[in-house]
Each structure stands twice: as structure tokens, then as C-alpha cells.
């Protein structure tokens, strides 16, 4: 888990250490109950509350420390045992990049075809979209810090396109945070 990749440009991009991730699928009541059993709350649909990330109408991603993923998974599975639900360890499936800096929205807007204006993409809002040619889930942790989840096999590609979009001389200045 050493050799975490990173670079600086218009924004700073850092690969995050391996994170415990569990895919949880079920209807809202099932997910609410299951999450409660491990001390988490189901966020408002389409949002992320830090630990729990909405991925689709019947799917959330539960994040926890990598060491405790087995324990959390077992708790979720036992909480949903008698219900129709799916809980799976997907910690190794993905790579997480943290993107920080005033140009965060702007760098994402070069790669993701989504409306990143603050009214449409407030802090905590989750979008499943693409970064250039690869799938990606992204949300703003705070105004100038995003987390982007991509598949691990394409981490180098993701880093490459982020690096190209974050070229220091490629500022666009479109969003209120860095208007030009």
C-alpha cells in the first residue's frame, strides 16, 4: 500500500490508501435498518454523508476502515439475513483519488459531462458519471475537495487524464470559485 500516486497542478490529486468498501443493495427500509446496525445513517437519496454514498436508487456504498471491513460486512449480512439484500466486500475493486484546490470543479468539468455549478452540485451530492472514458463516482467532501472513485484497473488512466486536465496553464475560470 505504499507508492500512493499523486501530483500537483491546477489542483492537487492524491491516491487514497485502501479503504474498506461494501456494496449494499436493498430497498430503503432494508438499507436504513442494516446501516443502523453498524452505526451508520442512510443519507438523503443522491447524497453522501461521509461514510455512506448513494450509488443508485437501490444501492449504497458503505465506507469504513480497511481493517474493519470484515467485521462491518458480517454485521451488515447478519442484519439483512432474513431480508432481500446484497452486501459485498468491494474494497479492492476500486481506487479513490482525492482532488483538492480552488479549481476542483473546473478540473472535473473537463472530464465529466455533468453540471458542476454549486447549485446543482453542492457539497455532499454524489454523481455517477465518467472521467473521460472511464466510469466514476464523485462527490465534494467540501467546497474545494472532491473524492472520485474509479475502477482499480484504470487508475493510471484516471491519473493521466486528471493530470492533463489539471495542467497549470489550462485554467478555465468558469466557476464562481475561480472565476476569470
Amino acid at each position: 500500500m505504499s507508492n500512493l500516486r499523486s501530483f500537483e497542478g491546477l489542483v492537487t490529486v492524491r491516491e487514497m490508501p485502501l479503504r474498506g468498501m461494501i456494496t449494499l443493495r436493498g430497498d430503503t427500509e432494508v438499507m436504513t435498518a442494516a446501516l443502523k446496525s453498524v452505526g451508520f445513517e442512510l443519507p438523503e437519496r443522491g447524497m453522501c454523508n461521509g461514510a455512506v454514498v448513494w450509488m443508485s436508487p437501490d444501492e449504497v456504498l458503505v465506507q469504513c476502515p480497511h481493517e474493519s471491513v470484515g467485521q462491518t460486512l458480517a454485521a451488515l449480512q447478519s442484519a439483512t439475513q432474513s431480508m432481500h439484500a446484497l452486501a459485498l466486500d468491494v474494497s479492492d475493486t476500486r481506487t479513490v483519488f482525492e482532488i483538492t484546490g480552488a479549481a476542483t470543479r473546473e478540473v472535473l468539468a473537463k472530464l465529466a459531462p455533468i453540471d458542476l455549478r454549486s447549485a446543482q452540485f453542492p457539497v455532499g451530492k454524489v454523481r455517477r458519471t465518467r472521467l473521460a472514458q472511464i466510469p466514476c463516482a464523485v462527490w465534494l467532501r467540501e467546497e474545494s475537495a472532491a473524492e472520485a472513485i474509479i475502477f482499480r484497473s484504470v487508475a493510471e488512466y484516471a491519473l493521466g487524464v486528471l493530470q492533463s486536465a489539471a495542467h497549470p496553464q489550462a485554467a478555465v475560470g468558469y466557476f464562481a470559485s475561480n472565476k476569470m
Binding site: M1, L18, T23, R25, G26, D58, H84, A85, L86, L88, D89, V90, S91, D92, T93, R94, A109, K110, L111, A112, P113, I114, D115, L116, R117, Q120, A132, Q133, I134, F151, R152, S153, V154, E156, Y157, G160, V161, S164, A165, H167, P168, Q169, A170, V172, Y174, A176, K179
Partner: protein, 993 residues
């Protein structure tokens, strides 16, 4: 001669000299010049040669509609053909060469075509080269192709970078003239998110050049005050050098921003393509001046009247000492007045209208300029430069009345609103008789999802041709508060349409009157097309090539269709226009590609062991977006030798395959068994926990789609392996059925392909190496063939599947992806004493072929059903239904004449060519040799030391032992015997140990 005046030039900075090179000549201009203005300042009026006749051509416009002044710009990695000099910003060190001439611009051999012009009429190529038929492909086409094309194709790799930017806004306004500025001001003040883009490097359009008075002040002052107000608005984004290139459905607009065209080599992207989604598009794109069609109107020095004053006012460049103005409307008088004002001679204004101009006409007379009304130009004299014009009566046939010496002819045939963006998504036009122009029909705009037009036009683009009307139009269209901004316009006399000058010009004159300068289409060509029956404007366009050049007919379109209408004896609206398509002017291919080039051209998926493969001689093969090792090269060996070595070693000792790329999909829920019984042709619901089963998936049409091993994990969970390329597709296929057809079934799926690194441990020593790592019982008794178990091996948490695709003793071991590399390393180390070698995909293919196992994509190609492949055993007869079942009952699917899978063994031991056909007697209706089978997979088997193949053959399984003929491309024939497809260990003794 054209020259730089000592004063004037609102856009240039005379303190900054910029040196550049044109056709090897060292010239200089000023910062703020474009290439055209700088060339003109150096008396370089001749800028290129036309496409067909190689006629000498000078600049005719001052903007993006330029047909003539096209350049090969830059060198090597920054070379670009067909750059319009009029929109190319000048910079220090600019390197330009004119196009379409040999050996030089001044002396061009191809100009002989002009002498042959009467033998090269419209449709010449179609008529001439159709017979004899075979000549087209082998003789005519290569020669024509050689002489076709204006610029040269770039040879070197582009050194610059490009990017996209996705922007969303409420109002996107294209055009930074006064209408666009006014529109932005209204939308911005209303609190909307606004993007205002202007294709040129400066704001205000031609209002400052034409000396408009807005709100009681010179246009320039109003423009800078408006800009200041806009800049103060947080919700307004202003961009120059950015063209609104194309409008697409649902409020999608392409903005083409040229960031570094004026500073090549600057750090950062050269172009940025804005991909804008907006609620409303406002096309404030102005209007384009039309040329007049008179003989010799293509001689260098005949320039649009607006362009003549643009060069004068914007760049302080005079195009010549003596300018004759020829017009059918008042605006060209501005040019005469401006030239006179600059101290230059205007010997004559030729006004085709008998009534002449309004207030500007008076002003011209007051300035002492001679005006001749009701007159036209009979012909222009000169070769590479205008020397004089002959005047005639517009109403006549062109008998010259007078010859007047001049070096510039400033022409104006009226103005055409730039309706392109309005029209890209289907906005309709209406013919405005009074102004002699097509303008947007506000009742028939391009309709968005809500039934309302999502494009509006503002200003001259709407057909509002005066300053006051343009501002009022923008005000109304944007719903501005209060009264529109007032402006003063001189009183004008109406335009009188002139489509040919003089009105009844002789053939001789018409055949020298150009419509399309770039493609050399003349009035006589369009008339000929009409006479030959090309009555539709779209047909006439293609027959004559009118409007098909890089300028897409911006100058020629309206004039051409007016000539067509006259010839057909109908009116202009019933002829209509050709279709306006994006982009407005050509945009760089690199901008469209954006960041997708070099290392990031395409995502390359890498397994957790990718780096190990790279460091150990992997010869790569792309499989989907993955890179898999085809083989691992050692020392000096060839690819083929490496593959043979890997097969032998795996069959005799121990091989490792990185199988991480295989798709892995979890299917869970109370209805999962029922669901999988529908997905697969065979039964999956009765698979026991802890067991694996090979399964086939078909499309609704019954064709084989994917295969793989399914493992039952627990009571309501299955793990489905798919092919490498099939993972995403099959996951999508499953979700589609669940979401659209069986939405009430309780099933969840998850694609966990990337969660696991998977290693196939294969060969007689497979069990030994796993036992050496230790941890779980992998014995024949504990982990039987087609079983799986969780456990640990060498300290790794693993899931071990006892499955085989090679016929050998084989395990596939899955570990969490993050530990994949460490696990691989541990296997390599532990396997050393057992002769371990990694093997690649080709070895995998050979081993499966030796065993007669099919490969999706080799034996299947979308037309093959499992029954063709002898896989009927994997098709359940008990199940009521599965996807593809009904289709497989169709008569064609049950036809006994369908080709069936067999093994093929060459008589001489050689390898059959891949895809080769087995020939049958006779020929088909097309005279082609009949066939009776084809090769689907073919290899040299190192195990058997001869060529083996699989193929589909007519009645194949019933013809064992027969010999078939497979012709090679070189005409020789390979003979192969039909045999059982299982070549090796048919009893399965090796895998069952």
C-alpha cells in the same frame, strides 16, 4: 498596391513589430494584425490559387467566410493546412505558405486548366470518367486524387495539447457584436448564468467600423461600457476567440475556443472545445456580405466592400490607391466614404439601382465622389491584380460604356443573416423580399423538449439590418425591461437584388462570373446544371460542387440558388437553401479528440500483476480494454517458440496464467436460481453449494453470446464467470432483463470482476505447489473436479476453484486484488522447484483447442448457435424457457444443413490458414465457388506436433474421416481430414487426478 497607412488601425499596436514568413519572404506586421491584414500591408494581394482552374486569388473577405486566402501554416508538428489568413492571428515567427500551386504562387503550371475551362464545365468529372468503367478505379481516380485537395496533409505528430470543457448555463450567446452584448446584458441582469462567446479577438463586431451611434455615443464607447457592466456580473462568462460552432438537440452547443493560435508553443492547451448544455441559445451571429456576380469578380483586388473598410479601419491598411465601389445597396457607400476620408481615390461608385442611395448617397456626392446609378460592371481587367473595370448599363447585356483604371473593386451584393446556428437543428427560414435575404422564421424554430424553440436569433442574424433594429431585436428576444437602447441610422434606399451583372450578361461574361471562388463554380455552371435537369438545389450543389469547399458556400450559397431559380424560371423561396450543418467553420480534429491521445488515448485496464508481466517479457495482446500477456518472451526466442515452450511446460510441469480479467458477477436473491435458469441454456438452480458448472448464454435470437463457469456460493448466491470481453456486457444484459422484464423478481447483481486477482495454476505439478504453500486441503478427495472451497494458501485468503480449460490438473485461485501481486510472487517462488512458468493467452488458446473447447469469438461470431457446436448437452430439455429457446426452434435454426463443429487435421501436418473455406463443387449464382465449411480456430499443436484446427462443416459430424480442400490465398490447396474436435486426452484422465 495595398499598403499600411501612417495612421489608423484600431486593433493594431504599432509599437510591437512582428516578423513573419510567407512563401519564404520575410515580412513584418504589427501586434493585433491577422495574417491577411499583415500580408496586405506588405502589398501581398495574391494569396492563393483556386482549386479547379488554379486561378490567381486574393483575399475577398475579412472574416471566417474567406474562400481564397487559405494557407499551409506552421511546420512539422505545428503544421496546419487550409488556415484562413483572415482569422489567423499574426505572431512573431509565423510561417505560412500559400496552397494549390506548383511550382510557385506567381507561376503555376496548373493554371493551364483555366485555358481549358470550356472543356471543364459542371459535371465534367462525372461525364468524362464514367467510361470505360474499370478505368475509374485504376487510372482516373488515382490521378484525380493526386491533384485534388487544397492544403497538404500534416505528416508529423501534433505537438500541442487540446481539451474539452463541459459547461452548463441558462443562456449561451454566440456573437459578441452589439446584439450579443445587448442580449448578455439583459440576461445577466436578470440573474441568469450566461456564456457570451465571440469568434474574433475583439468585441463589438462591425459597429465601430461602420461608425454606428448607440445611445448618443460612438459605438466603441457603448461597447466598452457594456463590457464593463458584464465583467462585473458574477453570473456572466465572456470569451473571445471562441466560436459557437454547432447546435445540437436538447440545447447542446459546441464552443471552439482558440487559446494559443496566436502564440504557438505556449504552455497549456491550444484549443478547448466547450461542450455546453444550455436552456437557451441566442445566435447573435450577424450577417455576411454577398459578392456580386460580374465577369472577372475573382481577380485579386475585387474584395467585399465591408472587408475593404475593415482593413482600413481595423488595421490601417489600404487595399489600393483607386477604389471603384460597386453595389446594389447603401452600405457600400460607407466604404467609399471611408477610403475618401483616408485620402485615397474613389473614382466611381457604380450603383445598380436607378435610384441610387439615400443619405449616404448625398454624403458621397458631398465628398466629391462620382456616382453612376443604374450601371454595372461589365468586366474587370487584370491578371494577378485588378487594373481597371469596364462599366455598362445594368439593364443591358454588358456593352462597355467606359473603362476606369483602379486597383480595387469594392463590391456589395447585399447582406445575408448568418442563420447557420438557427438552422443546425432544423430552424426554418423565410425569404424577405424587401431585404432580398433569407431570415429565420420565428414561427418555425428548432424545437426543444418543451415544444418551444431553444435557439433564438438576435440582431442582424434575425434580419434586423440597422443598428437600432438590431438592438431592439435583442431587447425583444431576451425580454428586456423598458425601452430598447436607441441608435441612429442614416436614411437608406432599399436594396435591389442583383443576381447577375449586367442583368442579361452574355455567355462570355457569365462564364467569367464566379459564384464559388474556392471551387471555381461560375454562373454559367449553375445554369448548365439547371438545363441538364439538376433542379433541386441539393442536386445542383453536388453536380457543380457549389458550396462544397472548405468555406461551405458562405459567400456563394444565396447567389447560386438565385441563379438557379432564375434559370428554372421560379422564385428563390421555392428553390430554397441547401442544408446548414455544423461546424460553422472548420474546427481542428485535435480539439474534437481533446485529451484522448498518446498515453491517454484510451483507458488500458491493468491487472494487479500487470507490472510483473511487463518486467518479464510479456508480449501484449489487447483483450477488451485489458492488456493480457500473449506470451512471455525469453532471451532470443521468437513469439511462436515462446508459445510452444509454454504449452509444453504447462502440460509437463506447471504453468501460471493471470486470469484476473475474466468477468465475475455475483447474482443473489430468493429468485436468483430462477433468474439464472433464464439466463443460461442449462440448469443453474439445481447446482449444489460448493460446486461449479459450465454454462452457455444466448441472445434472444438464440445465438451463442457468452460462456463461463458458474459457482454456487450459498443458498441464494451464485458467482457467474464470463469471458474477459463479456463482463460488462453480460452484467448489463442481466440488469436489463431484471430492470425491464422481471422487475418483480428478487435478484441483485454486482460486477465484482476487479475485486479479485485470479491465477490459474495448471499442470501435473499444480497440486504440489499449492500444497507447498499450504493452508487448505486441495487433495483430489477434498476438492474434487468442478468443486470450489474457501481457505488460505501461503497465508493468503483464497477461494480455490477446481476447474480446467486446458485438460490438465488445474485450479483457479482468487485472492483480493490488492494481494494479487504478492500471491503471484509467492506462487512463482514456491513453484520454482516444480518448473513453474507463466503462460499467456496464446498458450491458453492452444491448450483449449487441443481439448476441443470452444472459444467465444472464435467458434462463435453472432451467427452460431450452441447446437452448431455440439453443445446440445449444455441445453436443458427440462426447462420451460430460457433466453434464446424459442428462437432455437425456428426452422432455420433446426435446419440439418447448418454447418457443425468438427476437428480438422491437415494431411501433411501443416497449419490451416485461419478463416479458410472448404470448397465444394460448382459455383453459386454470383459465379463464386461453392463452399461447405470454414476454419474457426487453427494452431500448431506442440503436444501433437502438427497442425490442428476446428471448423464448421456441412454435415460435419456425419463425415468423419472425409478429406476437404482448403484453398490458400496463394492458390495452393491444403487438404484436411474431418476428425473429432477433441485432439488430446479424450477421456479426461489428466485433469481428473
Amino acid at each position: 498596391m495595398s499598403t499600411r497607412l501612417n495612421t489608423g488601425g484600431r486593433l493594431i499596436d504599432r509599437t510591437q513589430i512582428q516578423n513573419f514568413s510567407f512563401n519564404g519572404k520575410q515580412l513584418s506586421g504589427f501586434a493585433g494584425d491577422n495574417l491577411a491584414s499583415a500580408l496586405l500591408a506588405n502589398d501581398q494581394m495574391l494569396m492563393g490559387r483556386s482549386f479547379k482552374y488554379h486561378r490567381p486569388r486574393g483575399v475577398v473577405t475579412s472574416d471566417g467566410s474567406e474562400p481564397n486566402a487559405l494557407m499551409n501554416l506552421g511546420e512539422e508538428g505545428r503544421f496546419e493546412p487550409n488556415a484562413r489568413a483572415t482569422t489567423t492571428p499574426l505572431f512573431e515567427g509565423l510561417y505560412a505558405q500559400s496552397q494549390n500551386h506548383f511550382p510557385s504562387l506567381e507561376f503555376d503550371v496548373g493554371a493551364v486548366n483555366a485555358k481549358l475551362a470550356r472543356f471543364l464545365p459542371a459535371g465534367f468529372y462525372y461525364k468524362m470518367f464514367i467510361h470505360p468503367r474499370p478505368f475509374w478505379k485504376h487510372i482516373y481516380e488515382p490521378i484525380i486524387r493526386h491533384s485534388a485537395g487544397l492544403g497538404k496533409a500534416p505528416k508529423a505528430r501534433d505537438l500541442d495539447t487540446y481539451e474539452h470543457f463541459y459547461a452548463f448555463c441558462d443562456v449561451a450567446i454566440v456573437g459578441g457584436g452589439i446584439a450579443g452584448l445587448q442580449a448578455a446584458l439583459i440576461a445577466g441582469a436578470a440573474g441568469k448564468d450566461v456564456i457570451l462567446m465571440e469568434q474574433d479577438g475583439h468585441w463589438g463586431g462591425r459597429a465601430p467600423v461602420d461608425g454606428d451611434i448607440i445611445d448618443g455615443q460612438p459605438a466603441e464607447d457603448w461597447i466598452s461600457a457594456t463590457l464593463k457592466a458584464l465583467e462585473a456580473m458574477e453570473n456572466v462568462t465572456l470569451r473571445t476567440s471562441m466560436q459557437g460552432s454547432g447546435v445540437y438537440d436538447h440545447g447542446y452547443l459546441l464552443g471552439y475556443q482558440r487559446l494559443a493560435d496566436g502564440a504557438p508553443g505556449a504552455d497549456g492547451p491550444r484549443h478547448r472545445l466547450w461542450r455546453i448544455r444550455t436552456k437557451q441559445i441566442v445566435a447573435a451571429t450577424g450577417a455576411i456580405e454577398r459578392p456580386l456576380s460580374f465577369a472577372g469578380n475573382d481577380i485579386p483586388g475585387v474584395v467585399l466592400a465591408s472587408a475593404v473598410r475593415d482593413y482600413l479601419v481595423n488595421f490601417g491598411v489600404s487595399l489600393g490607391d483607386r477604389t471603384v465601389v460597386v453595389t446594389n445597396n447603401d452600405t457600400a457607400y460607407l466604404t467609399a466614404l471611408a477610403m475618401k476620408d483616408a485620402g485615397l481615390e474613389v473614382p466611381l461608385i457604380v450603383d445598380a439601382r436607378t435610384g441610387g442611395a439615400g443619405a449616404l448617397g448625398e454624403a458621397a456626392k458631398a465628398a466629391g465622389i462620382r456616382v453612376e446609378t443604374g450601371k454595372g460592371i461589365s468586366s474587370v481587367k487584370g491578371g494577378k491584380r485588378v487594373t481597371s473595370v469596364e462599366i455598362c448599363a445594368q439593364a443591358g447585356e454588358g456593352a462597355p460604356l467606359e473603362e476606369i483604371a483602379c486597383d480595387v473593386v469594392a463590391m456589395s451584393g447585399g447582406w445575408s443573416p448568418v442563420v447557420h446556428l438557427w438552422s443546425h437543428c432544423g430552424g426554418k427560414l423565410i425569404w424577405n423580399e424587401a431585404e432580398a435575404m433569407f431570415a429565420p422564421d420565428p414561427e418555425r424554430g428548432p424545437i426543444g423538449a418543451d415544444g418551444a424553440a431553444f435557439v433564438t436569433t438576435a440582431g442582424a442574424a434575425s434580419g434586423a439590418m440597422t443598428t437600432a433594429a438590431a438592438l431592439a431585436d435583442a431587447h425583444t428576444k431576451l425580454g428586456g425591461p423598458g425601452q430598447p437602447t436607441p441608435a441612429q441610422d442614416p436614411l437608406t434606399n432599399p436594396i435591389e437584388p442583383v443576381w447577375m451583372m449586367p442583368q442579361s450578361a452574355s455567355y462570355k461574361l457569365r462564364s467569367k462570373a464566379w459564384l464559388d471562388f474556392q471551387n471555381d463554380v461560375k454562373v454559367s455552371d449553375v445554369q448548365l446544371a439547371a438545363r441538364e435537369g439538376f433542379e433541386s438545389v441539393e442536386h445542383a450543389k453536388r453536380y457543380t460542387t457549389l458550396g462544397m469547399a472548405t468555406d461551405q458556400g458562405k459567400l456563394s450559397n444565396i447567389n447560386g440558388l438565385a441563379v438557379l431559380a432564375n434559370q428554372l424560371g421560379t422564385d428563390i423561396p421555392s428553390v430554397g437553401t441547401t442544408t446548414f450543418r455544423p461546424p460553422y467553420t472548420p474546427i481542428s480534429m485535435a480539439a474534437i479528440a481533446g485529451e484522448a491521445r498518446g498515453e491517454i488515448f484510451q483507458p488500458i485496464r491493468k491487472t494487479p500483476m500487470h507490472d510483473w508481466h511487463a518486467q518479464n517479457g510479456a508480449h501484449w495482446e489487447p483483450v477488451g480494454h485489458w492488456r493480457r500477456a500473449y506470451t512471455y518472451l525469453r532471451g532470443e526466442e521468437t513469439i511462436s517458440e515462446a508459445v510452444q515452450r509454454e504449452v509444453k511446460n504447462t502440460r509437463e510441469a506447471l504453468g501460471l496464467l493471470d486470469a484476473s480479467t475474466l468477468g465475475k458477477i455475483i447474482v443473489k436473491g430468493p429468485d436468483a436460481g430462477k433468474f439464472l435458469d433464464m439466463m443460461y441454456t442449462n440448469m443453474m438452480s439445481n447446482l449444489k453449494v460448493g460446486r461449479c458448472r459450465y454454462g452457455l448464454m444466448c441472445s434472444e435470437n438464440g445465438f451463442l453470446s457468452d460462456d463461463g463457469v458458474v459457482a454456487r456460493i450459498d443458498e441464494d448466491t451464485w458467482l457467474c464467470h464470463t469471458t474477459t470481453g463479456g463482463a460488462d456486457r453480460i452484467h448489463g444484459h442481466m440488469e436489463e432483463w431484471l430492470q425491464t422484464e422481471w422487475w418483480d423478481w428478487k435478484v441483485y447483481t454486482a460486477n465484482v470482476t476487479e475485486q479479485y486477482a485470479q491465477v490459474a495454476v495448471v499442470g501435473p505439478n499444480a497440486r504440489k505447489v499449492l500444497e507447498k504453500l499450504g493452508g487448505m486441503d486441495v487433495s483430489a478427495e477434498a476438492l474434487t473436479f468442478m468443486g470450489w472451497a474457501d481457505g488460505t494458501l501461503g497465508g493468503f485468503e483464497v477461494r480455490a476453484y477446481r476447474i480446467s480449460f486446458s485438460g490438465e490438473l488445474s485450479y483457479e485461485i482468487a485472492v483480493p486484488a490488492a494481494q494479487g501481486r504478492a500471491f503471484w510472487d509467492a506462487l512463482m517462488e514456491a513453484g520454482e522447484e516444480f518448473g513453474v512458468m507463466p503462460y499467456g493467452t496464446e498458450c491458453l488458446h492452444i491448450m483449449r483447442a487441443e481439448k476441443g473447447f470452444i472459444m467465444i469469438g472464435d467458434e462463435s461470431d453472432g451467427t452460431v448457435i450452441p447446437q452448431d457446436l455440439g453443445l446440445s448437452w449444455a441445453i436443458s430439455k427440462k426447462k420451460e424457457d430460457f433466453i434464446g429457446k424459442r428462437a432455437q426452434l425456428r426452422s432455420h435454426m433446426t435446419d440439418p444443413n447448418r454447418w457443425k463443429l468438427v476437428g480438422l487435421e491437415t494431411v501433411d501436418g501443416s497449419v490451416l490458414p485461419d478463416g479458410a473455406y472448404a470448397v465444394a463443387e460448382g459455383a453459386n449464382a454470383n459465379g463464386q465457388r461453392n463452399t461447405q465449411g470454414r476454419v474457426t480456430s487453427t494452431y500448431h499443436s506442440p503436444t501433437l506436433d502438427r497442425g490442428i484446427a476446428m471448423g464448421l462443416v456441412l454435415h460435419g459430424p456425419d463425415r468423419m474421416g472425409e478429406t476437404l480442400d482448403f484453398p490458400r490465398v496463394d492458390g495452393t490447396v491444403v487438404k484436411a481430414r474431418i476428425v473429432d474436435p477433441v485432439f488430446f486426452d479424450p477421456e479426461g484422465e489428466k485433469q481428473n487426478v
